[in-house]
């Protein structure tokens, strides 16, 4: 097995890419994809650490994380669809009705 | 007789009254949604009745406390009530602790009395009657709470709780600029209070208690812990308290909220504001007892500020064109007098200051009420719109004259009984320790003259002279309610002016605790020493007289001839066994003949009386001023071991 630090660094990089993507992307679908990337990077961390410690915990946490992410996806996409229905455009920058 | 629960009744009754008044139907909305606020008939009777009954109930409680107050008791506080209130865990509590002593008693009487009269006056108003009554009752409750609280958290709570009714009174019913006046008032005082809150919590942190009595005494655990703190920490805590109280007292330069608030508020609001004597009370109850050393160190600063208040207030009052602003600025000056008296740290100055505090709370509301009545009739507060009112309203102008003379400090009126001792105390303390020698006293006295100037001029412009406007001729004189409101105040002005002892008797113990005795060593050559009328001083004088008489008896032809310079002199038998300090026969100038009465008492009192408290420093301190005593100081008597140049040598 590779040293665990490799996995951890990889997942850190993936997490960073996802985080930067969230800040940059204008399309909410793309933003959400980046969020999913972040969550999956964390899943990778969990698995790697679980394997390294020889525990089942890592895999268990991943199952939880996947379930939660799935719930979040459904709700999030539902919100985006609702906006799309009324607005015909899902570019986030257009969502500026409230002074921020 | 200690009736527990009287104080809580005094706090709770107006609160209950306010609640009932709020819940009773007050305004009737008409179809257009405009405020229809004329309340009639039964509703009005209910509202006014509840308000008056509860307000008067508080006043009666105060009177009852005054009747049952044990003047000579040594107890720190009377009518104590103590309950657990805020849990701190670990069995520690912040207590609901109320108590009253002479100073609180006087202020409580003042507050309940004036607010009861104001409630009576407010019942005549038509606009928003309910809110006025409710706010006045809430204010009464908060004021009584402040003056009776014995726990710092409770004190702070009532201190702040009084802000809201005042803010609403000023803002809701006031004049054109009431917005900025109310906001400024609130924020100014709130800023000071938050700093005070920090100081309170810091005190708790260092001493573990919020109890004012424990913090003020030097022998309790808290007091001892306080003395051991670095003086830097004590200074900052004192500064925080002093700042909060100075803002509340509108001491120069923190006075700018006061004129606007007084002038823009409605009549009841102005009266309410006058009752904010919590600043003075805070100094006397909290800042000075808990931090005596810092207070005395900073006394010169406060004396300077007080004198500035007096002069500034008087000068600015003289040039105002609005009748109410004249009174407002005169308030600044009067409160300056009070602060001056307190920081002289003499018993007479303090007594005078506290009495002047009380007086200010009588004649200023009276002036505002009368002005309010005039304004109501005339429709304007500008002085230029009046003139010759005396011809049309003789009764009102007489009352106004009484109040004016009271505020000027004319003898037989209350102001004199307050201001004169303050000036006296200032003079006495200037000799021993204050800043600038006789200047504070001189300027304060000048302030009195200025007060006379602007107040009499104000009275003249409004009341005297020809009737310049036709509207004035149509104004009705005082009606029954107005008489009922103003007459008690006028009677009180005379009562205090002629027999103020009735009111100040009960403050003796409290003031004695505030004034460190060694500062009290009045220079005996001053005529002052013969004038103090405190009972203990009377006693002291008696003893002095007795001893002098004995000494006089002894200087009979049998005694050694006193005319010889350097003759050995043995103290008369009656004085044997009493340590003789500061006496050296050789250094004493021996006149031919007996010494006058004044020298004897001082010398004897210095040595022999048990009230000496073993403070040789005091003797030295007072003695060192001897050389500067004017020539009317009586020639030293050989039989009087005068504290002269030997003072430096014979310290036991």
């Amino acid at each position: 097995m590779l040293p665990v630090s490799y996995y951890l660094i990889l997942s850190a990089l993936l997490f960073t890419i996802g985080a930067v993507g969230v800040l940059i992307k204008k399309n909410p679908i793309q933003t959400f994809m980046c969020i999913e990337l972040m969550l999956n990077a964390v899943n990778l961390t969990f698995i790697a650490l679980g394997r390294y410690f020889g525990q089942m915990n890592g895999q268990m946490y991943v199952i939880f994380s996947l379930a939660v992410a799935a719930a979040e996806v459904s709700v999030g996409l539902g919100i985006i669809v609702a906006i799309f229905r009324t607005r015909e455009s899902i570019v986030v920058d257009d969502a500026n009705l409230m002074k921020s | 007789m200690q009736l527990t629960g009287l104080i809580s009744l005094m706090v709770a009754a107006p609160l209950l009254g306010a609640l009932i008044v709020i819940l009773l139907p007050g305004t009737t909305a008409t179809a257009e949604g405009s405020e229809q606020s004329v309340v009639g008939g039964v509703q009005r009777m209910l509202l006014c009745g509840t308000a008056l009954i509860t307000g008067l109930l508080a006043f009666l409680c105060a009177v009852g406390m005054m009747a049952f107050y044990a003047t000579h008791s040594q107890a720190y506080m009377q009518f104590n009530e103590k309950l657990h209130w805020i849990p701190l865990g670990n069995g520690q509590w912040v207590n609901y602790h109320m108590g009253i002593d002479g100073i609180s008693l006087l202020l409580t009487l003042l507050s309940t009395f004036v607010i009861s009269l104001t409630l009576l006056y407010a019942t005549r108003s038509n606009e928003r009657l309910k809110e006025r009554l409710a706010l006045l009752l809430l204010l009464e409750s908060a004021l009584v709470g402040v003056y009776c609280a014995q726990n710092l958290v409770l004190f702070y709570l009532f201190f702040e709780a009084s802000l809201i009714p005042t803010y609403l009174l000023v803002g809701m019913f006031g004049g054109a600029r009431r917005a900025s006046a109310a906001i400024r008032f609130f924020l100014y005082t709130f800023v000071g209070s938050v700093l005070m809150l920090l100081a309170i919590v810091a005190l708790y942190h260092y001493t573990g208690t919020f109890n004012i009595a424990a913090l003020s005494s030097s022998s309790s655990a808290a007091g001892i812990a306080l003395r051991h703190l670095p003086s830097q920490a004590l200074f900052w805590m004192f500064a925080a308290f002093a700042l909060a109280f100075s803002i509340k007292t509108a001491l120069f330069p923190f006075h700018s909220w006061l004129p606007d608030a007084y002038a823009e508020a409605p009549v009841v609001g102005s009266v309410a504001l006058v009752l904010l004597k919590m600043g003075i009370y805070g100094f006397v109850r909290i800042a000075i007892p808990i931090f005596p050393q810092q207070a005395q160190n900073m006394a010169p600063l406060f004396i300077v500020l007080a004198v500035c208040s007096i002069i500034y207030g008087s000068l600015v009052a003289a040039v105002q064109t609005d009748a109410r602003r004249v009174i407002a600025f005169s308030s600044v000056a009067h409160l300056g007098f009070v602060v001056l008296g307190i920081f002289t740290f003499t018993r007479i100055g303090m007594m005078g200051a506290l009495l002047q505090n009380f007086n200010h709370g009588i004649f200023t509301p009276m002036l505002f009420l009368l002005l309010g009545m005039l304004t109501e009739r005339r429709g304007s507060t500008d002085i230029a719109d009046f003139g010759g009112v005396k011809k049309v309203l003789p009764m009102l102008s007489t009352m106004m004259l009484i109040a004016t003379l009271g505020s000027i400090a004319v003898p037989f009126f209350s102001g004199f009984a307050g201001e004169f001792p303050v000036l006296l105390g200032s003079w006495v303390s200037s000799i021993s320790h204050s800043v600038g020698g006789y200047w504070p006293t001189a300027l304060a006295a000048a302030g009195t003259i200025l007060a006379a100037v602007y107040m009499l001029w104000w009275y003249q412009r409004i009341m005297l002279g020809p009737v310049r406007f036709e509207e004035i001729r149509k104004m009705p004189d005082l009606n029954r309610t107005e008489w009922a409101v103003v007459l008690p105040l006028a009677c009180l002005i005379f009562w205090v002016g002629l027999g103020s002892g009735f009111f100040t008797r009960r403050m003796n113990q409290a003031v004695n605790r505030l004034v460190p005795y060694y500062r009290e060593q009045i220079d005996s050559s001053l005529p002052v020493s013969a004038m103090v009328s405190d009972e203990r001083e009377v006693e002291e004088k008696q003893v002095r007289m007795n001893l002098r008489n004995h000494a006089l008896l002894i200087t009979s032809p049998d005694a050694p001839a006193p005319a010889l310079q350097g003759a050995h002199f043995s103290p008369p038998p009656i004085l044997k066994g009493i340590p003789v300090r500061g006496y050296h026969p050789r250094r004493m100038p021996i006149p031919a003949g007996m010494g006058g009465p004044a020298s004897k008492p001082s010398g004897v009192s210095n040595r022999s009386l048990p009230m000496q408290h073993g403070k040789p420093g005091g003797a030295a301190g007072a003695a060192s001023h001897r050389p500067s005593a004017p020539a009317h100081a009586v020639p030293a008597n050989p039989n009087a071991p005068v504290m002269q140049s030997g003072a430096g040598e014979k310290h036991p």
């Binding site: 939880f64 719930a71 709700v75 919100i79 609702a82 | 805020i86 849990p87 708790y204």
Partner: protein
């Protein structure tokens, strides 16, 4: 605890979940249910009351601490205290919603389901002894709130609020999860693997944590800080608070804070031995939050946005309690102060939003200061209640907010963090200004604000919640002893099992 005992201990949450599902199904399948405006609301209220009964029962018979489900949940007295507080606030929020939804024509039963699910999520946040359970609870709370924020579907503002909340919330959830992963990794000691159990983490803590643990803690702080609206993670709050329907905002503002701060407190008490590493960060965040929240609130004319910034500021005050908990000697008082202030904050903020909700009707949501002008003449009850809540928010006696601030001062001084106390005092001065401005507008301004001739449907709900909140605030200010059982229960977190 055995599994059966664990299930019994978790009864409040189970009750809420079951009630939520019944309401959802009833609303979906029974026409009479949908037609009646108050069926869902009443049933959910009933569920809340039953859950509160269970929690009270547990509180009175409870040993000091007890771990349920093999250490996943800690259902000790602190949790029961937080549970009761959450149920009280949720009950008031449901009462408020009954009126608001009816008036805004938003009356759909799934609102109450979501509220109940969110409340149970918050309760689990307060109970979580394992970080992964914390994550699940956070997500339970958040997902329900994402939907609730967008509940007024026809309003673009509401949808926008939902979208912003969702995107930023999911972003923060990612940080939270990564932080948990790093703590999991960093907690490994030789022989045993890593763990996310807070009790075990506390036992394994030395005073020098490893790099992974510190990084993990920081990321968890980011995630939880987002939920609690701490600076610099507060950017979502004004927009989301302003856009969501008022009853949702009220619920969101209070319930999330209680859950988030309970979780933060648990987390940092578990890592208390390593306080030197995280305490400076907490102190800086607290000061920043207090100052920023108050300063930004000063210029707001929209009352909901102003209350949002004020919520941010109050989060800063609450963080003082967390900072104070770093000192073991001050921990019990810090816990007590935090729970009391959470109660005070919950009541006053919910009350303020409830007044706004009461004044809203079909066409106009009561939002701006000009809507409130001169309210004391047209609607004195609403105006005076708002005054009480504003005074409580400003920390002016004799309200609960004052006593709460005083508790925070004491906690800060007992843990020797003088600067936090000074900052709290100074920002209070600034805060009073904008709260007073609302009082001013209500009482002294001429003209009339929101239309007087509204006909509020089902007003009893909001009125009950308002009077209860106001009464408890004043009572808490005059006689804090009524809250003493709650506070005493809260002190027992310190004893980690």
């Amino acid at each position: 605890m055995t599994n059966a005992q664990s299930m019994q201990a978790i009864l409040p949450v189970i009750t809420l979940l079951i009630t939520g599902m019944v309401v959802l199904l009833g609303d979906a399948f029974l026409p009479f249910w949908r037609r009646s405006g108050v069926a869902s609301g009443s049933l959910s209220l009933l569920g809340i009351v039953i859950a509160a009964g269970f929690a009270l029962d547990r509180l009175s018979h409870q040993p000091t601490h007890s771990l349920a489900f093999h250490g996943a949940l800690s259902l000790g007295r602190f949790t029961q205290a937080c549970t009761l507080l959450l149920l009280l606030l949720a009950g008031l929020a449901v009462l408020l919603a009954v009126t608001y939804l009816e008036n805004r024509r938003l009356n759909r039963g799934e609102y109450y389901t979501l509220v109940l699910f969110a409340t149970s999520g918050a309760i689990l946040m307060a109970a979580a002894n394992d970080l992964i359970v914390l994550f699940i609870a956070v997500e339970m709370l958040s997902v329900a709130l994402y939907v609730l924020a967008g509940f007024a579907r026809s309003e673009p503002r509401s949808e926008e609020a939902a979208l912003k909340y969702f995107l930023l919330g999911a972003f923060a959830a990612g940080f939270l999860l990564y932080g948990i992963a790093l703590i999991y990794g960093g907690a490994a000691i030789s022989g045993l693997g890593g763990t996310t159990n807070l009790a075990l983490l506390h036992l394994r803590q030395g005073s020098v944590p490893g790099f992974m643990t510190v990084a993990g803690l920081a990321l968890v702080l980011v995630g939880l800080g987002f939920k609690a609206a701490l600076v610099p993670f507060h950017m979502w709050a004004p927009d989301v608070y302003e856009g969501s329907p008022t009853s949702v905002t009220g619920f969101m503002a209070v319930v999330v804070k209680v859950g988030a701060f309970a979780a933060l407190m648990r987390l940092f008490i578990a890592f208390a031995p390593a306080a030197a590493y995280w305490l400076p960060a907490i102190q800086i965040i607290a000061v920043l939050t207090m100052v920023t929240g108050n300063l930004l609130a000063v210029t707001q004319t929209n009352v909901k946005r102003m209350l949002a910034y004020s919520s941010v500021a109050h989060a800063g005050y609450l963080l003082i309690a967390v900072a104070a908990a770093a000192t073991p000697a001050a921990q019990p008082l810090a816990l007590q102060a935090m729970v009391f202030y959470l109660a005070a904050y919950g009541l006053m903020t919910l009350g303020a939003f409830a007044v706004l909700a009461w004044l809203s009707h079909r066409d106009a949501d009561c939002q701006t200061l000009s809507d409130l002008r001169g309210l004391v003449r047209t609607d004195p009850a609403a105006a005076w209640l708002m005054v009480i809540f504003m005074l409580s928010l400003g920390g002016i006696p004799p309200t609960m907010g004052f006593i709460g601030k005083w508790y925070l001062f004491t906690a800060a001084l007992q843990s020797h963090q003088l600067w936090l106390a000074i900052t709290l005092a100074l920002v209070s001065m600034v805060a009073v200004f904008y709260y007073l401005r609302v009082v001013w507008t209500l009482c002294f301004e001429e003209g009339s604000g929101i239309s007087v001739s509204r006909n509020t449907l089902a007003p009893a709900g909001v009125q009950i919640s308002l009077y209860v909140a106001a009464l408890l605030s004043l009572l808490g200010g005059i006689a804090p002893i009524v809250w003493q059982p709650l506070m005493l229960a809260a002190r027992s977190l310190g004893r980690m099992p």
